[in-house]
């Protein structure tokens, strides 16, 4: 368990501002935030590489705020893996064992087997691919059986195909070794897939903590909403409210949304582009909006197509190229933009 209490620290261009956070044992906890939000600084503070200006850090109930890193008893893997270039893979892995005076040949071969690096033991780090380096770095960090693993952007240096298997590997390690994992990233997809809980950090401040569902469906403010991909922001007024189903007026357009608000409230409605489907026919229902409009712009983005639609309000939809071709989507074409009331997130 990691407890962080009112942690503040300035360093170069980064600053953390009175941050409190509690990470439970066994959790896979992801800290998500844009580049420059101070995420790595927070991780380095927890590992003890810097001392905070104020605040406390407790690991398993014991205060370690001003202890040197070797007393923090956690494993740390940097984004670039930081393997020692002058040592073979084997020596790299043994380094932690030598420092902690653990003498066990079995540990080394066991962790090498787990991480599928047995064939790499005599190689040197600079000759390894990114994915191999990461597995070696994990082996080096895990060979001494730490309880807590800190990961600094563990996937961002990998190519997309290796990322998939690395995600799988991290999930497996977390489950099989019953590790507490603290993983930082700027990639919302990564956070969504991996996390038990997510904390959003922006400009050195903790903005929201919650399960992936809470974060991605119910962002607490518009800054978080736009960071987690609600690209459509509609300003409107509630004209009826009935057991969580709201009718909202935005300009001349009306749509349904689920949420809590009073009649007359001015609200912001957030809607993800991928939650808008396009159709040639209307299919209005009590839980599904279907707004008539006209395509204004079309951008092909690989397998996806971004379509801008004018339905009185301007919407931004993301659909597959297949369906865009099936419907002959191009500027000027009339379409219905459809989205569920439950896809709309309401903030007052």
């Amino acid at each position: 368990m990691i407890e962080i209490e009112f942690l503040s620290r300035k360093w170069k261009n980064f600053a953390l501002d009175s941050l409190s956070l509690k990470i439970e044992s066994g959790e896979y906890f992801v800290i998500l935030g844009p580049t420059g939000a101070g995420k790595t600084l927070l991780l380095e503070l927890i590992a003890g590489f810097h001392s905070p200006d104020s605040g406390r850090i407790l690991i398993d109930g014991e205060e370690v705020t001003y202890q040197p890193p070797e007393k923090h008893k956690l494993a740390f893997v940097y984004q670039d893996y930081s393997l020692f270039p002058h040592m073979s893979v084997k020596k790299n892995i043994e380094f932690g064992m030598r420092m902690k005076k653990i003498k066990s040949r079995e540990k080394l071969s066991e962790v090498s087997r787990d991480l599928k690096i047995t064939h790499l033991l005599d190689r040197y780090p600079l000759t390894l691919s990114g994915g191999e380096q990461q597995r070696v770095a994990l082996a080096r960090a895990l060979v001494t059986d730490p309880k807590i693993l800190l990961l600094d952007e563990p996937l961002s240096a990998l190519d997309p195909r290796t990322q998939e298997s690395a995600r799988e590997l991290l999930s497996d390690l977390h489950k099989n070794k019953r590790l507490t994992v603290l993983h930082i990233t700027h990639d919302q997809t990564e956070a969504r897939i991996m996390a038990d809980r997510i904390a959003i950090i922006m400009d050195g401040k903790l903005v929201q903590v919650g399960t992936p569902e809470e974060i991605f469906e119910k962002p607490v403010n518009s800054q978080v909403a736009s960071f987690v991909g609600f690209e459509n922001v509609l300003k409107g007024r509630v004209i009826s409210a009935d057991r969580g189903l709201l009718k909202i007026e935005a300009g001349e357009t009306f749509f349904d949304a689920s949420g809590e608000a009073e009649v007359g409230d001015a609200v912001y409605a957030f809607l993800r582009p991928e939650n808008i489907a396009l159709s040639k026919t209307s299919a209005q229902s009590s839980i599904r909006n279907s707004l008539q409009g006209r395509v204004t712009e079309v951008w092909i983005l690989g397998a996806l197509v971004r379509v801008k639609i004018d339905c009185g309000i301007h919407l931004n939809a993301l659909i597959t190229r297949q369906s865009a071709e099936d419907m002959n989507i191009s500027p000027g074409v009339p379409v219905y933009a459809q989205f569920k009331a439950s896809s709309v997130h309401i903030l007052r």
């Binding site: 590489f49 040197p68 070797e70 740390f76 940097y78 930081s82």
Partner: protein, 248 residues
């Protein structure tokens, strides 16, 4: 056209340095080879040359002992006045050599700040310790700077990784930082040694005797003229350059 003119100027620069040295060396070998052999057989000449190498070696060792830790602190920590400290460490590079000699003599001479109290135990003037101190003074900045660059080139994240694996700071230094900056330290040591054995101005003021190579060359030049000092100069440069070639 620009490239041609510039290449020509490079050639001039190259020839200036190359001809100056090779003219002396080959002139000696072709015109007066017996003189070179005689100089090489002369005990006091060889003693002076070896004495140069030895004193330079001692100065380099001391530089390593002082300069490497200093470079580590300068590479890893920020503190108020750091820029001033770095500037002061660089000053010996620009101090005129005889000025350095005078300054060292005021401090290490028999009535000096350090030389005075130490007089009963160790003598600097006209003795090996003085020569080493003079060499140390002019060559220390080279070692401190290349040590600092070497330590800076080691990613602090490697040190952090080692610490989180359970290594205390001193083990991190000896197992991670030092091996990874070994090349810089080696090159720095070679430069320091080269600077030490090339020094004349500072050494000659604090210790004319016992003579190091450069002093002997000067002494012969003043007493007997160019033809008497040239064979020693050729010998000294041949010894020096061949040691460099071996180290590289």
């Amino acid at each position: 056209p620009l490239t041609f003119v510039f290449s020509l100027l490079l050639l001039v620069l190259f020839l200036f340095i190359f001809l100056t040295l090779s003219n002396m060396i080959f002139g000696q070998i072709l015109e007066d080879f017996p003189g070179l052999v005689k100089a090489a057989g002369n005990r006091s000449v060889m003693a002076a040359i070896l004495f140069s190498l030895y004193a330079g070696f001692l100065a380099t060792l001391l530089s390593l002992f002082l300069g490497a830790p200093a470079g580590y602190i300068l590479a890893r920590f920020d503190f108020p006045g750091k820029r001033l400290v770095e500037s002061i460490i660089d000053v010996p590079v620009v101090v005129p050599h005889t000025v350095a000699g005078i300054a060292l003599l005021t401090v290490f001479g028999s009535r000096g700040l350090i030389g005075g109290p130490l007089e009963p135990y160790i003598q600097f003037r006209d003795a090996l310790p003085g020569i080493v101190v003079a060499m140390l003074f002019v060559s220390l900045p080279y070692l401190a700077n290349s040590a600092r660059e070497g330590f800076k080139s080691v990613d602090p994240r490697l040190e952090n990784a080692a610490r989180s694996l359970g290594a205390p700071l001193w083990k991190v230094f000896f197992f991670i930082t030092l091996p990874l900056s070994a090349r810089h330290l080696l090159i720095g040591s070679v430069m320091t040694w080269a600077r030490a054995i090339s020094e004349f101005g500072a050494v000659v003021i604090i210790a004319y005797y016992p003579m190091i190579g450069p002093t002997l060359i000067y002494d012969r030049f003043i007493s007997y003229g160019l033809s008497a000092s040239r064979p020693i100069a050729v010998l000294l440069i041949l010894v020096t350059l061949s040691i460099f070639l071996i180290i590289r």
